[in-house]
């Protein structure tokens, strides 16, 4: 919490401004009328779209301070928003990012020569695709990102104006890339940006005969595929969130023996290897959780599936219900910090900033989790060895 938020009402919609990196103006972007319009879906959507700024500002803060290495963070953060976050937020960003990186790396390193696919839901200004493609072991991978058109348009502008991003994607020449007339969709050999309201991805499961794919061109339905939802599905209603995941598990990548039977488990999937990573808040019912819900509500943010998937156990059951019968695991951010981060790395990170607020850190970190599930039958064997957290 930063005192510098007081006079700057602009921060009401995108969180804190503070620290040495402050003082660059801090007023840009945003959406006209945000937070002031009628509480309709459109207005709520704008608030949700705005949360992406929170994430990119947090990422840049963590990068600037040395928590994370990410040369793309700066290029994908709207100018003027650069802000130093509090140490606990930086540490949380670090744990979240590195833990998901680790799950992704395990997926990519399994049978490394086999072509794979990642589909990121509500990706916003996420830098993961650029980081993966620019890494030394540039993998055989197709990367899809789906988000509201307003967010994909912004990202395409960033890509167009930043050679660093173009080089990472290998789209240095104009003929390497296609951008839609509206400037909201981008397609290249390995990277695709889809301007799409995820809530469109439904109903297809009841009409298996129709072509389910026009919404997501270039998605290869035969490749081992990893779905990622970083704080995305939680903004949808429970039924919408279920529909979105089902669109992938049953429509695009049906698991032959499970298709059509809701919640069936125990089959050895003969479908395409498929895994899902979720990153979401949990535990809304204790004092911290209740305060979180009401604070976010004051910003117009509703975490609609939070109560549905309120615990680690509920998240694991959710994954199982979607047919990820190969395994389901979940862990809160506190656990991931304690168990996934090596002692050496902990020491390095702890040395970056004095983190005084240990109790607050644990409270906050225990209210966010990563859950991951995968289909039986190969492709995600690397996830077997990763330690999940037992209990609720």
């Amino acid at each position: 919490m930063s005192a510098s938020q007081i006079p700057n009402l602009n921060t009401l919609r995108r969180g804190g401004g503070r620290g040495r990196l402050r003082g660059r103006g801090g007023i840009t972007g945003g959406y006209p009328g945000e937070g002031q319009g009628p509480r309709g879906t459109a207005s709520r959507d704008r608030v949700v779209q705005g949360t992406d700024n929170d994430a990119s500002v947090s990422r840049l803060s963590a990068v600037s301070l040395g928590y994370l290495e990410d040369p793309f963070a700066k290029t994908l953060t709207p100018p003027g928003l650069e802000t130093r976050r509090l140490p606990i937020i930086n540490r949380g960003t670090y744990v979240r990012t590195t833990a998901i990186d680790r799950l992704v790396a395990r997926f990519l390193s399994h049978a490394p020569h086999e072509r794979k696919q990642i589909i990121s839901l509500g990706a916003g200004t996420d830098t993961r695709a650029f980081r993966i493609f620019s890494s030394q072991s540039s993998p055989n991978l197709i990367y899809h990102e789906i988000d509201f058109a307003v967010n994909t348009t912004a990202k395409i502008k960033f890509i167009r104006s930043t050679p660093l991003l173009q080089r990472a994607l290998g789209i240095g020449r104009p003929e390497d890339v296609t951008v839609s007339d509206a400037g909201d969709a981008l397609h290249s050999a390995v990277y695709h940006l889809h301007p799409l309201d995820l809530r469109c991805l439904k109903g297809a499961s009841t009409s298996d005969t129709a072509d389910p794919q026009p919404l997501l061109r270039e998605v290869d339905r035969t490749l081992p595929t990893l779905l990622i939802s970083e704080c995305c599905l939680i903004y949808l209603s429970p039924s919408e969130a279920t529909d979105v995941v089902s669109y992938f598990t049953r429509t695009l990548f049906p698991d032959a023996q499970v298709a059509g039977v809701s919640g069936r488990t125990g089959t050895t999937g003969s479908g395409v290897p498929l895994g899902l990573i979720l990153y979401e808040p949990i535990r809304p019912d204790d004092a911290f959780g209740r305060t979180m819900v009401s604070n976010l509500a004051a910003r117009g943010i509703q975490l609609q599936t939070l109560h549905q998937y309120a615990s680690l156990k509920a998240q694991r059951e959710r994954l199982l219900g979607h047919g990820f019968s190969g395994g389901q695991a979940a862990a809160d951010v506190d656990f991931l910090w304690e168990r996934w981060v090596t002692e050496e790395e902990k020491e390095r990170v702890a040395g970056l900033e004095m983190l005084d607020e240990m109790e607050e850190w644990r409270l906050l970190a225990q209210h966010y989790c990563i859950a991951w599930g995968w289909r039986a039958g190969g492709g995600f064997d690397g996830w077997n060895e990763l330690e999940g957290q037992s209990g609720d």
Partner: protein, 431 residues
């Protein structure tokens, strides 16, 4: 109305005073604080408060719950600034009250009263924003350097006065006073007793006190005026010659410090030897006092905070025994319930920032220690060796009794009582 009273009134309304007045105030405060020892002696009754962290409206709520200055004698255990939106208003008000009523309010230093920490956690930014320069921040930091490192509460009663609404309500005398054993009482913000606990002290007496000089009675037959004096002088007061001689109350003294103990400090007197008038160092005794935490371990451990240490129940018991303390009161750690006693009540964490950072959903508390009037308000004396037995440290020395403790638990000030324009706090989350 003096300038100082005007400044107090203005700050109470959450309005800042001019920079020139801040400079003057800080100068006066420094003159006052420089006269205080590293460990300030405070007579009970006193109300002990933990972290405030710039939550001005909750500080006002604290005064509503605990009584106003100077009616109530207050001891604040540091961390006045950082994190909340109103560090300046909160700290300057407390400082004004200190200058105006120096004997009715004691301020000791927390780990956030530091140049380095305030540049990371918000106070520096707040000063720049509200005053347009770093001057006020510098004045405040100079005051920080003069704050005492600890306080010793003397003359606390082992019994509780009847509880009731804190402020001058004499009508509530009906509370059952058969409370010779009553030790801890928990009150909500309306003054209603929500819990009380007994801790009979006999349990180790029969087997551990082979030393016949241990004639101190278990607490349930106490409270008889004229009873044999029980314990030795208050720690440090004799040897250090800081006045008052070797005096003791019927209960042990209470050491108040922001963080906790240090492996470099085995007696309260050693705290008095520190040269405190400096920025909080990164290590050493002064750092530890402001940064350490009690933990369920044996001995000492490394602190995850990167400064200070963790210390176990055995350390607390030894320290309390050696220094004739009945209790260590400290702050520094968020406690969802507002306070937390550990190690058989040998140490307590008091946390006074409700809904910390507008995000944590916790309640806050203050700890009231009553005055021991059973000896007519005078303190008893004895020689320094009385009751020390066989060189063996018994884990529960019957001679030192705990003071009666009353925790007043309170919640964050309601949004609509703040009387502020809608500058709603915005808490950061990972989104």
């Amino acid at each position: 109305m003096s300038d100082l009273d005007r400044a107090i009134a203005q700050l109470r309304a959450c309005r800042l005073i001019p920079e020139s007045q801040v400079r003057e105030l800080c100068y006066k405060a420094r003159e006052l604080l420089i006269e205080e020892g590293n460990v300030v002696c405070v007579d009970a009754p006193v109300t002990i408060c933990g972290d405030i962290h710039g939550q001005f409206h909750d500080l006002m709520e604290l005064f509503r719950v605990g009584g106003d200055v100077p009616d109530t004698n207050y001891l604040f255990m540091g961390d006045f600034v950082d994190r909340g939106f109103y560090s300046l208003e909160s700290f300057l008000l407390l400082l004004c009250l200190k200058v105006r009523y120096p004997d009715r309010i004691t301020l000791i230093r927390g780990n956030h009263e530091s140049r380095q920490i305030t540049t990371v956690y918000g106070f520096y930014d707040e000063c720049i924003r509200k005053y347009g320069s770093a001057n006020v921040w510098r004045y405040c930091c100079e005051v920080f350097d003069y704050l005492a490192l600890g306080a010793l509460v003397l003359g606390a009663s082992s019994e509780l006065e009847p509880s009731g609404p804190s402020m001058n309500d004499n009508t509530q005398t009906t509370m059952p006073l058969d409370d010779a054993e009553l030790e801890t009482e928990i009150l909500n913000s309306k003054g209603e007793v929500t819990g009380s606990t007994y801790r009979p002290r006999q349990r180790t007496l029969s087997d551990s006190s082979t030393d016949t000089r241990n004639i101190s009675p278990p607490r349930d037959i106490s409270a008889t005026p004229g009873q044999t004096p029980l314990r030795t002088g208050a720690p440090g007061t004799g040897a250090s010659g800081s006045g008052g001689g070797s005096y003791s109350s019927r209960t042990g003294s209470v050491l108040c410090v922001h963080g906790g103990l240090s492996p470099l400090i085995d007696t309260v007197d050693k705290i008095r030897l520190i040269d405190r008038k400096q920025e909080v160092p990164h290590e050493g005794a002064m750092c530890d006092l402001l940064w350490s935490d009690p933990d369920e371990i044996d001995g000492w451990g490394l602190s995850p905070r990167g400064a200070g240490f963790l210390f176990g129940g055995d350390i607390v018991k030894q320290f309390n025994y050696r220094n004739d303390l009945s209790l260590i009161a400290r702050a520094h750690q968020l406690v969802m319930e507002g306070y937390k006693e550990m190690f058989d009540g040998g140490i307590v964490t008091v946390w006074s920032a409700p809904n910390y950072c507008y995000r944590c959903g916790n309640v806050a508390s203050i700890l009231e220690l009553g005055e021991d009037t059973s000896n007519g308000g005078t303190v008893t004396r004895s020689n320094g060796d009385y009751g020390r037995s066989n060189g063996i440290i018994s884990t529960d020395k019957p001679g030192v009794r705990s003071p009666g403790r009353r925790y007043r638990v309170f919640e964050a000030a309601a949004q609509d009582t703040r009387g502020m324009p809608a500058k709603k706090p915005v808490a950061d989350y990972f989104l």
